[in-house]
Symmetry: C2
Subunit: 192 residues, 2 copies
């Protein structure tokens, strides 16, 4: 019924995600996006809305894949502590292996915008809730099978792990001592 789009919506969104991830919201110009996405400005606005909306869409896409990954790892049939070790260590590896050293898009966004944009704050709070939920389920499972003491509070343990998940993403940006970071994560696991 009309002229079809020349580009793939999802793939082009991924390109925008990469730019926002690397340069942040304010640090990214529409010209940057137009160039990276290889579409013209009018196509961009028509398909994804304005800069804010595109950013939010990119962020949600990122979070979904992040959650999917965590859920995948969490449903593996291995000990709970092994699972949490895998989560932490994979983050260290991924952060250090990224040649662009982009860190975590959610962490970057929280530190840039959560205090000045309520919508972003809501997304961040929701993300925390979801990740905490995944972690709590893991910990309860560990308590059920005897890996973790039932005396401990799952909510607190989850918050503790979450803090380390966030922290290691920041630290890995300036410290590339892989062994040291893995050793620090090992303390997290062994203190559960």
């Amino acid at each position: 019924m009309a002229r079809p789009k020349k580009f793939d919506e999802a793939a082009t969104l991924q390109k925008a995600l990469q730019v926002f991830w690397k340069k942040g919201y304010a640090g990214t110009s529409m010209a940057d996006l137009v160039k990276a996405m290889e579409i013209n400005a009018p196509s961009l606005y028509d398909t994804y809305g304005d800069k804010q909306k595109l950013f939010l869409t990119a962020l949600q896409t990122y979070l979904r894949s992040q959650h999917d990954w965590m859920n995948d790892v969490s449903t593996k049939d291995i000990p709970v502590k092994e699972t949490i070790r895998l989560l932490l260590n994979t983050l260290v590896e991924d952060t250090l292996n990224d040649p662009e050293k982009k860190g975590c898009f959610m962490v970057n966004t929280v530190t840039e915008l959560a205090n000045v944009d309520e919508k972003i704050l809501a997304v961040a709070a929701d993300n925390e809730k979801q990740v905490q939920s995944i972690l709590q389920n893991l910990i309860r499972k560990g308590q059920a099978n005897g890996e973790i003491s039932s005396d401990k509070n799952p909510e607190i343990l989850a918050a503790y792990v979450f803090t380390n998940l966030m922290g290691v993403r920041v630290v890995a940006a300036t410290n590339s001592d892989k062994k040291l970071l893995h050793a620090a994560m090992e303390i997290v696991v062994s203190s559960l």
Copy 2:
């Protein structure tokens, strides 16, 4: 020998620091700074240089006060674990009590710029070195007086505490459950 400045250099720098801290580097315009600092653009450039230089000066000022604070706390005559508990809990309190929820200026800067600005990366690496040094000294002191097992590696423990210092600054931006954060920090202390 000439017309004196009408403003206080250090106090006006503090105003710039507050703006950069709240809005980030790219999110801050020179117009924002001129307004907050209550000086004219030419005075700003003449005294502090361009935007980049002013930002770096503000960041260094922030780091110096941060290090001074850590050193002050570290030289208190209390048990080492108590000191580390105080460091972690004070960060939680300060972050939650700030009505502007600015978080940590260093963390914000690392996540915004460390991957695109080598000068910032160097400052961040240097900061990590200094904080790690303070933490390592504390831990060695704890090992000397029997608070902490001498079997443990001070460097790894310091990296572990550092990760939690960074992490809690990010988490406190979206989770304002004070009790939960304090409880999580308590795990950090008790795992030393």
